[in-house]
Structure formats: structure tokens, C-alpha cells
């Protein structure tokens, strides 16, 4: 017997790869857009919380 072709034998497994890639790209795209659109002054204020 051969121990190969695991994935080919599982029906519909390709959807996992596609979904993973999609989630990955979306996740970072959304996070980075939001982070860089952030208000600089507010950021500075929050970063001082431990010192207050």
C-alpha cells in the first residue's frame, strides 16, 4: 500500500486551503488599514495610560 495522496482522497478538502488563504489576506488587510488610519493624538494618549 502507498502512504500518499491523502488530500486527493478527501472530498472537498480544497475549500480549507482557499478559505484559509482568504481569511489570512482579509485579516491583515483590514487590520493594517485600520491601524494606519488611526488618530495619532489618541494613540499617544492611550500609550501613556501605564504612566498616569
Amino acid at each position: 500500500m502507498k502512504f500518499i495522496h491523502y488530500l486527493e482522497k478527501t472530498s472537498g478538502v480544497d475549500i480549507y486551503g482557499l478559505v484559509s488563504l482568504g481569511i489570512f489576506v482579509l485579516f491583515f488587510a483590514i487590520m493594517l488599514t485600520w491601524v494606519f488610519r488611526a488618530d495619532k493624538k489618541k494613540m499617544k494618549e492611550i500609550s501613556r495610560i501605564p504612566l498616569n
Binding site: 500500500m1 502507498k2 502512504f3 491523502y6 488530500l7 482522497k9 478527501t10 478538502v13 480549507y16 478559505v19 484559509s20 481569511i23 485579516f27 491583515f28 487590520m31 493594517l32 485600520w34 491601524v35 494606519f36 488610519r37 488611526a38 488618530d39 489618541k42 494613540m43 499617544k44 492611550i46 500609550s47 501613556r48 495610560i49 501605564p50 504612566l51
Partner: protein, 721 residues
């Protein structure tokens, strides 16, 4: 606006900080003890409780859950109150949490020394303790969220996100990996078997490092580093990216612990890819920490707290750079199963976790006692002893790992393996000695700290309730268009849910296909369930922690196939609850041990390993020769295995002991032929039965037909046969 007056609870912080110091010393002592056993096997004292296989889990569990665990709680209880400008939600819950956690530690130490273990690394504790951990963790969660909800500070500072992500992910990991079926009060079998068990275990194991040893400590870094340097973190933006990228990517990287094993290739590749990506957020975080000190490096020269933090953050950077490198298959082929891994984790453990804990204690204790540190000089000495200790610990082990791996893989020009396994071990003994010197130095430094802190406490006066004031949070005026993350920062529950979704995605996408593949995993017709005696023997193998030194996973390399035999196949492990692939080869691999030596060899070898292989560093297992085998558990074990899908015939549990005794007597008969007189019902006989079974089934396989399919049947079909 009316300012409210309230008090921070320092008493609970004090309790956790004492526990941190005590368990630092206890955990390190256990570590030093096992380190000495590498070159002085007699240090096992020939007692079951103090042999390497039982003491090593005590060391790892004590360091991770007792030392670092208490350190996390110290830091969280101190910083969360101040970041939220509120006292902890409930003093009662705080103390239930404290005493509950210490009780779990005590129970863990006792049960591990007695040999009650699930046999899964860093999750060795048996099911009643697993349940207790879950309950205490929930208490901690309620207390933490209660505090966050009654806070007087609008925004959740980045450290709190790290605490939230830690809480939710550890809960998820602990529950999923601890699914097991109880056989008795202190014995259970993992719900999963073989490949699936391995994947779940290392998904857990890797993320225990990520979400117990990393994210909470990063939270502490984001609080205590700006505090100690008296300046805000270098880039708050970077900390947001650090957080989300880290928790999103980390959860996928587990399979890098299983490269070249029988785990499906796609899962291995996924682990590698995400591990490489981890460099980015990890280094982002490290640089964020170090850059916070820009323009303040003169303070580092003066302040021991900052000294410890700089080395801690640097070690974090080194370990998180090395980790991805070790996840490359070509590097892993050399490093895996060697001391390289041990060196790697100790850069993280001693450098990152240890030094962050020390820095935090040196910062907290003088402040909570309203005094200055007793001696800066002692603390600086501690710093240097610790730093040199880390180097003396890690460098010899890197050397040992690399040397041994190269020796394993060496062939003579005639094509024979150049070295016996034992030669590769005796060759690196000097490195083991140096490593223990490094560890001892590090431990001495910690004792110095304990003394310094004790003197500090003696000269100060404890402030049990620290006064503070802040304005209460006003009811939200309907916000206009607002930046999303700030909305999130004000909604801790949304933060919790989002963190859970982010970490669950990785887990699901990785675990589910492997479980779907189950129906397709090429099960091997000749692989049969263990006989009752072998099953009992396997449980003894798990109990004695054999997996801490012996792997059962032959990787498809020329040298491993030449040394051990045919490489391991996924289908061979379908009845292994739990899997016992191991992660370190202090001794040789045992995946094809069955039939290699006569029964009498194993008997003598267990009695005194050096009588069979001179120079061996394996401990003696003398008690196995006398201990009566507990056959009263056989029926329950067979029933549990049947529940898990192991195809024993109906009603087999009732007659299992009959088969067990027949096989035991036959082994006793074999031993007698070699002039060894023993009863059949002793533990050694069961262990021999198991050792002689490992890896043999596949050899009985029928030759493949041209289509290559008839040699295998699916698990379902097989159970019907």
C-alpha cells in the same frame, strides 16, 4: 467631576509574588537534579519517584505552571488594577484563585512523582486535576473581566488585550487537548489516537509556549517596561499590529513539532509557513520593547530592573528568530530529537521568562513595601550570574545537539553506520556536565534574589491597600464616526469574542481536515489492538515517562532506517491512546524495538542498563522486577479502549485477564530458559510484552497487490471483521 477614592489590593499581589519566588527555586532545583542524572545516573537514587522520567515532568510543570504561572498572576493582579484604575472585582475570587492554583500545583507534584500521568508533554496532569484547572481558570476569568467591566479608564491598554487573549486561548487549548476517557480516579486515556493525538498535542504544546509563556509575559512587558523606563512604549501602533498578528499566526504553527513524522505533509508545510511568518510580529514586539529605551540607555547602566528586561527582550528576539529557523525542514532534520531543542527552549525559559519575572519582582517588591531595593549590587551580581548561567547552559547544548545529530547521520565509506547510538551519547557527556554548571549558576543567582528581596521586605512596611483616586467613567455620549479599534478598546467582551474567533480559525482549519482524513488514513490490515498484557505494559511505559527519553517515530532518513528499521507510518498508531512519539532521543528510538532483543535482555537491562550496554546513562528500574501487576484494572481499560473505537470483540473485557496471564506465563517461561526465575504477574513482564510488540505488526503485512490498495482496509471495515 467627582473624583472617587479607592484602594488597590496589594495583598494578593504579595501572595502570588512569594509563590513565584518559591516555585522558581523548586522548579530550578528539579531541573538541576534531572540535569545531573544525565552524567550520574545514580542520582536517580533508584527510586521510582526520582527517576528522570517522573522528575522531568515535575521540572517542566513546576517551571511553566508554578513559576511562570504565579509570575503571570502577580503581574496581572498588579497591573490590571492600575490600568483599570479599580480594585480587583472580588477579593474572595482573588483568594480562591490563589489557593486553588497552589493546591493544583501541590496535587500535580504529588501525582507526577507517583507516576500518574497522561503521557502528553506539558499536559501530563490527570483528569481530576484537569477539571480543577478549568474551574480555577474560570474564577480567574470572572475576576479579571469583573475588574475590566468596573474600570475607571475608558480605554483598554494593550497589556490587557494580551491578558484577555491569554485567558481565552489557554481555556480553549486546555479543554481540547485534555479530552480523555477516565478509567479510574487517576488514570485516563486520550480521546484521540496516534496521528490525531500528536497533532492536537503539539497544537496545544506549541500554543502553551505561545499563550502561557509568551502573550501574558508580553502583556507584562508592555506594562512594566514603560513603567521602569518612565516613558511610553515606542509605538502604540506597532503594539496593535504585534498583538493581532501574533495571536492570529501563532495558533497555526504547532505542526512544526512534527516535521518528517507520519503527520500528513500538508499540515507540516502549513506549520512551517506560519512559523516563518511569526518572525515579523515577534521581532516587531521585541523592537518595540527595545526602542522604548531609546534615549534612556544610561538608565540601563544604573537600574537592575532594566538590565534584566533588556536581556529578557533580547532573548525573546533570539528565541523567536531561532524557532522559525528550526521549523525549516532542512534545519529540523538536524535539530529534532537532539539537545538543540532543549537549548532553544531554555533561551526562552531562562532568558525571556526568568529574567522578566526577576525584573518584575525587583520592580514590585520595593514599591509595595514603600522602600528601596536592599542592595543594587546584589541584584547586579544576580544579573551577571544569570546571564553567564544562560550562556553556560545553552552553548554546550547547541554544541551537543549538533554534534550528536551529525554523528547519528555519519556513514562509513562502506555504507555502514559509523557510530553506535551509545557512542553518540557518551561523546557529549562533558557538554551535559557544563550545562548543569550553567544551570546551577542561574539557580544561585535566583537564591541571591530571594535573599535580596527578603532583606528589602524586612526594611520596608507593607502597604496592603494602596490608595488611589480617579473619576468614574461617564455614560457614553453617542459617539460619532470613530476609529474602530478605539471602540473595541472600550468593549472588553467584544475583544474576548474576537480574540477567540481569531485563534479558533487556525485551530479549526488545521485540526478538522486531519480528522476528516481519518476515514482515509491508510490503516494497515496487520496492525491489531494491543493484547491485555501489552496494554498494561504500555501503561507502565507511560507511567515511567519513557517518552521523555525515547521516541517512537522513525523519520524517513537513510540513517534512521538503517539504525532502527522501516520508517513509521500513520496507520501504525491507530490504537495508540495516547501517542508516544516523544520529542527527544536521549536513548535510541523504540518504534521497531519489538523482537530486536530476547526477553531476558530487557529483563537484565531494566534491572541494570549498564550490565547490557556499558556506559549507558539510563536509570535502573529495579522496582519493576518486584511490583505486582495490577490486573484488577484490565477489564476497565479494555472497556475504555472499546469506547474509543478499538475493536476488541464483544465481552472481551470479562476474559481479558485470562489472556493476560497466558501471555505473561509464556514470557516467564522464555525468561526461565535464560535462567531468570520470575513470576508471571510482575510489572516487568507486562513491560517486556509491550516492548516486544512495538513496531512489529507492519512486518506481518501481506504484500501489496498491483493496485496497492488491498493491503489496507478502513478502520470501520476492520472493526466489522
Amino acid at each position: 467631576m467627582q473624583v472617587e477614592k479607592f484602594y488597590y489590593d496589594n495583598k494578593i499581589v504579595k501572595a502570588f509574588s512569594y509563590a513565584t519566588v518559591i516555585f522558581a527555586v523548586v522548579g530550578m532545583l528539579a531541573g538541576l537534579w534531572v540535569a545531573i542524572q544525565f552524567y550520574a545516573p545514580a542520582a536517580s537514587l533508584n527510586l521510582a519517584a526520582t527517576t528522570f522520567g517522573r522528575l522531568r515532568p515535575v521540572h517542566t510543570n513546576a517551571i511553566i505552571f508554578a513559576f511562570v504561572g504565579n509570575c503571570i498572576f502577580t503581574g496581572v493582579y498588579y497591573s490590571l488594577q492600575r490600568l483599570c484604575k479599580a480594585r480587583m472585582f472580588s477579593d474572595k475570587l482573588s483568594w480562591i484563585h490563589f489557593w486553588g492554583w497552589q493546591a493544583i500545583i501541590a496535587a500535580a507534584a504529588i501525582t507526577l512523582l507517583m507516576g500518574y500521568t497522561t503521557g502528553k508533554e506539558y499536559a501530563e496532569l490527570e483528569w481530576p486535576i484537569d477539571i480543577a484547572i478549568t474551574l480555577v481558570w474560570v474564577v480567574f476569568g470572572i475576576n479579571m473581566f469583573g475588574t475590566i467591566l468596573k474600570r475607571r479608564e475608558k480605554h483598554l491598554y494593550v497589556a490587557i488585550w494580551f491578558y484577555i487573549a491569554t485567558w481565552v486561548t489557554v481555556a480553549m487549548l486546555h479543554i481540547v487537548n485534555s479530552l480523555e476517557i477516565p478509567v479510574s480516579i487517576f488514570k485516563s486515556y486520550s480521546w484521540y489516537a496516534g496521528v490525531q493525538d500528536a497533532l492536537v498535542q503539539w497544537w496545544y504544546g506549541h500554543n502553551a509556549v505561545a499563550f502561557f509563556l509568551t502573550t501574558p509575559i508580553l502583556g507584562l512587558m508592555y506594562y512594566f517596561l514603560p513603567k521602569a523606563a518612565n516613558r511610553p512604549v515606542y509605538s502604540y501602533r506597532l503594539s496593535i499590529i504585534h498583538f493581532w498578528a501574533l495571536i492570529f499566526i501563532y495558533i497555526w504553527a504547532g505542526p512544526h513539532h512534527l516535521l518528517y513524522t507520519s503527520l500528513p505533509d500538508w499540515a507540516q508545510s502549513l506549520g512551517t509557513v506560519f512559523s516563518i511568518m511569526l518572525i515579523a510580529p515577534s521581532w516587531g514586539g521585541m523592537l518595540n520593547g527595545l526602542f522604548t529605551l531609546r534615549g534612556a540607555w544610561d538608565k540601563v547602566r544604573e537600574d537592575p530592573v532594566l538590565k534584566f528586561m533588556v536581556v529578557a527582550v533580547t532573548c525573546y528576539g533570539m528565541a523567536t528568530f531561532e524557532g522559525p529557523l528550526l521549523s525549516l525542514k532542512s534545519v529540523n532534520a538536524i535539530s529534532h530529537f537532539t539537545d538543540w531543542t532543549i537549548a532553544h527552549v531554555h533561551i526562552g525559559g531562562l532568558g525571556w521568562n526568568g529574567f522578566m519575572a526577576f525584573a518584575m519582582l525587583y520592580y514590585l517588591i520595593p514599591r509595595m513595601w514603600g522602600t528601596n531595593l536592599y542592595s543594587k549590587k546584589l541584584a547586579t551580581n544576580h544579573f551577571w550570574m544569570g546571564t553567564i548561567g544562560i550562556i553556560l547552559y545553552a552553548v554546550p547544548l547547541y554544541w551537543a545537539g549538533f554534534t550528536q545529530s551529525i554523528m547519528w547521520k555519519s556513514f562509513t565509506p562502506e555504507g555502514q553506520l559509523k557510530f553506535q547510538f551509545l557512542e553518540t551519547v557518551t561523546n557529549i557527556i562533558p557538554m551535559y556536565i557544563t550545562r548543569s554548571v550553567g544551570g546551577a549558576l542561574y539557580l544561585t543567582g535566583a537564591l541571591l534574589m530571594a535573599y535580596n528581596l527578603y532583606k528589602t521586605i524586612r526594611q520596608g512596611k507593607f502597604i496592603a491597600n494602596e490608595e488611589a483616586e480617579a473619576a468614574p467613567l461617564l455614560k457614553e455620549i453617542k459617539p460619532g464616526k470613530e476609529y474602530w479599534h478605539r471602540i473595541l478598546e472600550r468593549k472588553p467582551v467584544a475583544m474576548l469574542v474576537l480574540s477567540l474567533i481569531v485563534v479558533a480559525i487556525g485551530g479549526l482549519l488545521e485540526l478538522v481536515p486531519t480528522f476528516l482524513v481519518k476515514s482515509n488514513i491508510p490503516t494497515i490490515a496487520s496492525v491489531k489492538p494491543y493484547t491485555p498484557l501489552e496494554l498494561q505494559g504500555r501503561d507502565i511505559y507511560v507511567r515511567e515517562g519513557c517518552y521523555t527519553c525515547h521516541s517512537q517515530m522513525i523519520r524517513p532518513f537513510r540513517d534512521e532506517v538503517a539504525r532502527y528499521g522501516e520508517y513509521s507510518k500513520a496507520g501504525e498508531f491507530v490504537y495508540d491512546h495516547p501517542f508516544q512519539w516523544g520529542s527527544k532521543r536521549t536513548g535510541p528510538d523504540l518504534a521497531r524495538e519489538g523482537g530486536k532483543y530476547p526477553d531476558s535482555w530487557h529483563y537484565n537491562h531494566m534491572y541494570d542498563p549498564r550490565s547490557m550496554s556499558p556506559g549507558s546513562i539510563m536509570p535502573q528500574y529495579v522496582w519493576l522486577l518486584d511490583n505486582k501487576l495490577d490486573t484488577s484494572s484490565t477489564a476497565a481499560k479494555i472497556r475504555a479502549m472499546k469506547t474509543l473505537g478499538v475493536p476488541y470483540p464483544e465481552g472481551y473485557d470479562a476474559i481479558a485477564n485470562h489472556d493476560l496471564m497466558r501471555q505473561a506465563d509464556s514470557i516467564a517461561g522464555n525468561l526461565k530458559k535464560d535462567k531468570i526465575e520470575t513470576a508471571g504477574n510482575v510489572e516487568i513482564v507486562a513491560l517486556i510484552a509491550y516492548l516486544q510488540r512495538i513496531g512489529r505488526d507492519i512486518k506481518a503485512e501481506t504484500p501489496p497487490t498491483p493496485k496497492g490498495e488491498s493491503g489496507s482496509v478502513s478502520l470501520n471495515q476492520k472493526s466489522k471483521q
